[in-house]
């Protein structure tokens, strides 16, 4: 009799969504990538360089899976601890705007590429993994595109994007450190917000 109860409990657990096995980071990346690409493939505006439309797409589909606070901290390195909570919030907001734009611009360069997903190693239920993918393009060598992902209470969140070995996040480290050294944390906030305003003004 006991086994029957356990059995039913098991069935209930496996079908009830709140208890469902949570999504693995590589399947999350795959799902989001394919969803975004299927939209870009049908959107001639994005393909012909409409950044605003690409940004809207990224904001709706990609942004919820990114942890911009962690990204900003990673970009700033040791300087992150010099910022007050209020400054951290502003830094993350501004950096988010800039990264979303960069990411969106990359999408407007889309031309018949496909993405291959490499098997992800997850040693011992690690909470911090790298999901490796490759962009395959006709006539060119594959471009490595990796995502550093960490487990958060609300699910897996991307905190670094690495294209051909180049982290779009830590590539700013030296520039940001220099600015903080010269003009402090407020100087960096100013620099980011000026840049975003300029880009916004020139937006198509």
């Amino acid at each position: 009799m006991k086994w029957l109860i356990s059995f039913f409990m098991g069935v209930m657990l496996s079908v009830s969504p709140s208890f469902a096995q949570e999504e693995s980071p590589d399947s999350l990346i795959k799902k989001v990538t394919e969803e975004v690409l299927s939209i870009v493939r049908q959107d001639k505006d994005i393909q012909s360089g409409n950044t605003r439309k690409a940004i809207e797409l990224v904001e709706a589909k990609v942004l919820p899976h990114f942890n911009f606070t962690r990204m900003t901290a990673l970009a700033m390195g040791k300087d992150w601890n010099k910022a007050s909570p209020e400054q951290k919030k502003r830094l993350s907001e501004e950096f988010k705007t800039l990264l979303v734009r960069t990411y969106s611009n990359a999408l407007t360069g889309y031309k018949d590429q496909t993405v291959r997903y490499k098997p992800t190693k997850m040693p011992g239920g690690d909470a911090d993994v790298v999901v490796k993918t490759e962009i395959l393009q006709p006539g060119g060598k594959p471009i490595q595109l990796d995502y550093s992902v960490e487990k958060q209470p609300e699910g897996w969140k991307v905190y670094d994007v690495i294209v051909a070995g180049v982290s779009l996040v830590t590539n700013y480290r030296d520039t940001f450190n220099q600015e903080v050294r010269a003009n402090g944390v407020d100087g960096l906030i100013q620099m980011l917000s000026t840049k975003n305003k300029q880009l916004e003004a020139g937006k198509k």
């Binding site: 006539g139 060598k141 594959p142 490595q144 070995g165 180049v166 830590t170 030296d174 620099m191």
Partner: protein, 242 residues
């Protein structure tokens, strides 16, 4: 042991020659250096060369853009494949030199299939049967052998290279089969088309860099450091300390 051997090799001589040239150039820039990155001690000189390169690109970029706009997709793919096939021979050599014989053998397999079934390299049939294209050059080989980066340099036309990769590039250029073609006009045409094809392939990255960078010079330099570090470790570099 390996290092001792290496010092007397022709490669090392070429390497020190390149280093000597670089230092001489750096001397020209005098005290104008505004270095704030220890890996980039000749920043003043490099920034000057960067501007020269941006000037050259004012002419090159529209040509590349024209090529991109006019050529049908399959033609561009064929051109890329054709030069890629020639490049695979040297990539194979570098894989052997780096102690990766299975990758080297795979590269030779690529050359065999692509040169025959792939009609002189115009079609990359090898990728379709699982022989993937690699990206190796002599600068990476030197890196695998333990040669340090050396100072960062920015060259007109060939772009960012540290001293090691500058030496590597000299060897790559010497080993380039296209450069040894006897027919000078054919050689120049091929080298020209290859250069424009390469520039055209970088066009999508232009907009991203233009908008993402606070200082284009810095952004390209830092990306170069990361990219080379990753390439030497075949995409799996050891983590950096914070």
């Amino acid at each position: 042991m390996r290092k001792g051997l290496f010092v007397n090799s022709p490669i090392a001589k070429r390497f020190s020659l390149a280093a000597a040239i670089c230092i001489a150039f750096a001397g020209l820039s005098g005290c104008a250096t505004t270095a704030n990155n220890p890996k980039d001690p000749f920043e003043g000189f490099n920034r000057a060369m960067f501007s020269v390169n941006e000037g050259i690109d004012v002419v090159v970029k529209p040509v590349a853009q024209g090529y991109e706009d006019v050529m049908p997709g399959p033609v561009k793919t064929g051109v890329g494949n054709f030069f890629g096939n020639i490049g695979d021979i040297w990539i194979a050599v570098n894989n052997f030199l780096q102690g990766k014989p299975s990758d080297g053998a795979s590269d030779l397999g690529r050359v065999f299939f692509n040169s025959t079934i792939g009609v002189l390299g115009l079609f990359d049939v090898a990728s379709g049967i699982g022989l993937e294209k690699h990206a190796e050059d002599f600068g990476q080989t030197l890196g695998v052998w333990g040669v340090g980066d050396g100072p960062y340099l920015f060259w007109p036309v060939i772009g960012p290279r540290n001293v090691r990769d500058t030496a590597g590039f000299a060897v790559d250029a010497y080993a380039d089969p296209v450069a040894h073609l006897e027919d000078v006009s054919a050689r120049n045409t091929l080298m020209g088309v290859r250069f424009i094809d390469l520039r055209a392939s970088l066009l999508p990255a232009d907009k991203v860099v233009e908008e993402a960078a606070f200082d284009k010079y810095n952004y390209i330099r830092d990306a170069y450091f990361q990219n080379r570090r990753s390439a030497i470790h075949d995409g799996n570099p050891p983590p950096l300390e914070d």
